[in-house]
């Protein structure tokens, strides 16, 4: 059995999972107008981390770990995230039976402009970023870095579970993060896929995604949490649409396959799912595609939400922070409303949550999709 031990979220709405969740419950939106030429010639909406707070919190940790090295913004976010998640468990990060998996799409990409002289240009390499994290914690295993577009986070968690099941490790710390950068903002702008306002997942007026920066951690383990409700990883998979490199399959081909395989591994059927945490980026095509995948799998009875309306699309962090929120929702039996959503704008009658809802949720599906035709699905349930 694979248990979720703890989680953390470093975001614009909080520096731990509970704080972030509570902010969302209150309806706070982390996506704000950013007017800074460092990122883009014009203002654009995004969810950004408070850097003053980040540096302050990180300095405290650095003292505790007696570490005087210089770290990039993303590294600080990741380290803080892992430190917090670890503090809630007795996992030994220095053990050979503990692995770290890192999920990121572009890592320290802000270093590519050459404006920042504080770091060697090699730091832009994702394995080097991973090494910095591994070294901070003195973990003896080569850190595993996964970079697979926006499914990286869910893929990393599914991979962690697979490795524990294969008896490669007892505990896996799954961390993910990405920053908002000119590189990414301008890229998405060229795709005309950014909404001019905070994004509206599944809404009839949805007009694009909002970017966000965040770091997140979930720790998965073969050991259960004593004296508390456990949530178990039941199954997961990825699949490719084999259709287009940036647009999703109109028939949700890859998403359908990934969900099928997740059910197969979990040995469960759709009627057992009570809630779905969708990818819900608020682009016209993604949300429509997901509604089709949900319908094709006879999951119309399940409640559906997306939390990207609060924190934006956090790329490599997305699958991880959204799983952390899902775990919190399951623990508290509260489903967060889909911020930004008012009226459904997808062709299938999926059950989108538009108000915070008290509901006993025992078994959930997490969905993710990304560039390159990639799709991922994961099923988790209360043990």
């Amino acid at each position: 059995m694979i248990y979720f031990k703890s989680s953390n979220i470093i975001s614009s709405l909080g520096f731990d999972t509970k704080e972030t969740f509570t902010s969302m419950l209150r309806g706070e939106i982390g996506i704000k107008s950013i007017n800074n030429k460092k990122y883009y010639p014009e203002a654009f909406p995004a969810s950004m981390i408070d850097e003053v707070k980040l540096d302050k919190e990180f300095d405290l940790i650095a003292i505790k770990y007696a570490n005087t090295k210089k770290y990039t913004k993303l590294e600080k976010m990741l380290i803080l995230s892992v430190v917090d998640a670890l503090s809630k468990t007795d996992v030994d990060i220095k053990s050979k039976r503990t692995a770290i998996i890192l999920s990121t799409t572009k890592g320290n990409i802000d270093l590519l402009s050459g404006d920042n002289n504080s770091f060697d240009s090699k730091r832009v390499l994702l394995w080097k970023l991973g090494e910095m994290i591994q070294d901070f914690f003195n973990n003896p295993n080569k850190i595993i870095v996964i970079s697979n577009a926006c499914i990286s986070g869910v893929l990393a968690i599914v991979t962690a579970a697979m490795y524990i099941n294969a008896d490669m490790y007892d505990n896996v710390v799954v961390a993910g993060g990405d920053i908002v950068s000119r590189f990414v903002v301008s890229g998405f702008m060229s795709f005309m896929s950014l909404s001019p306002t905070a994004c509206k997942p599944f809404d009839i007026n949805r007009d694009g995604l909002s970017l966000g920066e965040a770091a997140g951690t979930v720790i998965v383990s073969r050991f259960e949490n004593k004296n508390q409700q456990n949530i178990i990883f039941k199954g997961g998979a990825t699949a490719n649409d084999a259709n287009h490199i940036s647009g999703p399959s109109r028939t949700a081909e890859g998403s359908f396959i990934a969900i099928s395989k997740a059910f197969a591994e979990a040995d469960m059927s759709p009627n057992q799912i009570n809630h779905i945490s969708a990818h819900g980026t608020a682009t016209p095509y993604n949300d429509e595609m997901e509604s089709i995948a949900i319908e094709r799998h006879n999951l119309l009875h399940a409640s559906v939400n997306s939390i990207k309306g609060y924190l934006g699309h956090t790329l490599g962090a997305a699958g991880i922070i959204e799983t952390a929120i899902l775990l919190e929702e399951m623990e508290q039996n509260i489903i967060l409303k889909t911020a930004g959503f008012e009226n459904s704008g997808v062709s299938q009658p999926i059950n989108i949550v538009s108000d915070n809802t008290n509901k006993e949720i025992s078994c959930c599906l997490k969905m993710a999709s990304g560039f390159g035709g990639s799709n991922a699905a994961m099923i988790i349930s209360k043990g």
Binding site: S190, F191, M192, I245, S246
Partner: protein, 89 residues
Amino acid sequence: MEELIEKLKVQIIEQLNLEDMEPEDIDAEESLFGEGLGLDSIDALELIVLLEKEYGIKIQNPKDGQKIFFSLKTMAEFIQENQKGTAEV
């Protein structure tokens, strides 16, 4: 107009990496996105970049692209109508 169309042929071949094509292979009236050149959604966005870069015309709504980029001829007509410095559409 003829000159603009010939110029566009060369620019499109370069911008969209239509490697094996020569300008004479492209018919000014043939549909760019259908059976003709078989361009896709990324190509459509690239044409928007081309319009801004080479002709200073900014298209705000990608959906307008369908009409404008129907064929080289419609593209040329659009450029001629809108190229007065930086026209915003």
